[in-house]
């Protein structure tokens, strides 16, 4: 993942935001979607993505559906009711963070 320490803290929120928009997604689809949105700037590795998905699932924020697609099994992730509520909170928190960082990095814009 590019600029790891800055992006790492937001990985769960990125995943939850995408799932909120798309309904359900599988691992590879998430990595490609992030790559496309950020025009290749942000590349989520498998080593970061799957542990994050498993953690969110264990916390009850995501649920899983397994389906047979093209001769293989595919695990789809979607937000639970708790996950939907948590996404709203985390996005608000992230927006607040971005706003504060903007004020620090570029104080002139905040006036």
């Amino acid at each position: 993942m590019k600029n790891s320490s800055l992006y790492k803290g937001s990985l769960n929120t990125i995943i939850m935001k995408l799932l909120e928009e798309k309904g359900r997604m599988y691992g590879y689809e998430i990595t490609q979607k992030v790559k496309a949105i950020t025009l290749g700037e942000l590349n989520i590795t498998e080593g970061a993505l799957y542990p994050a998905l498993h953690k969110l699932e264990a916390e009850g924020l995501l649920e899983v559906e397994v389906e047979k697609v093209d001769n293989r099994l595919r695990k789809y992730y979607k937000l639970t009711e708790k996950g939907n509520k948590e996404t709203v909170n985390r996005l608000a928190e992230l927006e607040e963070f971005i706003k504060n960082m903007q004020n620090i990095v570029n104080p002139k814009l905040s006036y």
Binding site: G27, Y28, Y50, H54, E59, E67, D70, N71, L73
Partner: protein, 210 residues
């Protein structure tokens, strides 16, 4: 879009198996991930399966194997999940009945006898449980599930947290040892419920279980 054949998918699965990705559920997810990436490469670069696979693995092998192979894949997730499980209403209700029942039970028994015998029976149960798990998943089911095996971490935490206070040869307060043993018993039963709960998740999904 080019799709992989069953043979291609078997090749990826075997490759992951040989790379010590021992859990079936993790391998299933990674096989789909690699297969999707390989299909895209075959499509966009107009190359065959083996070239696309090689090209993907050159870039991603290190990351994949470092995180998911053998004992390299560690997670503290089960501890947190077990904590959340203990807060579920039916577990809290069970805890209330359990400790209420034990409170009356302890008034009628010889605690010194109980604390001397408890360890033997507890270790025997633990041993039998281990044998059952190992035999069932290795010889009958022939599948290993990451989330189920990782949950044993909880059992080792229970063991190491309580055992120092539970040894009659080192601690002389029988009352303290008795309630420590009762706590071990409670957390062990709660763990068993947690373990069954995790297996149920896989069992309910016939694609993964069968």
């Amino acid at each position: 879009m080019k799709t992989l054949t069953t043979q291609n998918l078997k090749f990826i699965d075997n490759y992951l198996k040989k790379s010590e990705i021992i859990y079936d559920d993790i391998r299933m997810e990674l096989t789909d991930h690699i297969a999707s990436a390989v299909e895209e490469k075959m499509q966009t670069e107009n190359i065959d399966f083996y070239d696309a696979f090689k090209s993907f693995m050159i870039l991603n092998k290190k990351e994949l194997l470092k995180k998911f192979s053998g004992s390299g894949f560690k997670s503290f997730e089960p501890i947190k999940s077990f904590g959340l499980f203990l807060l579920k209403p039916h577990v809290i209700l069970f805890a209330a009945f359990f400790f209420f029942g034990i409170f009356f039970f302890q008034l009628q028994i010889d605690k010194s006898y109980f604390v001397k015998e408890f360890h033997h029976y507890w270790l025997l149960c633990l041993f039998m449980f281990g044998i059952f798990h190992f035999s069932y998943f290795n010889f009958i089911k022939k599948k290993r599930f990451f989330a189920v095996e990782q949950s044993f971490f909880v059992l080792s935490i229970i063991y190491y947290v309580f055992i120092p206070f539970s040894n009659p040869t080192h601690v002389e307060d029988y009352n303290l040892i008795f309630w420590t043993d009762i706590s071990i018993l409670f957390f062990s039963i709660a763990f068993l419920l947690f373990y069954v709960n995790r297996i149920k998740k896989y069992y309910n999904n016939k694609h993964i279980w069968n």
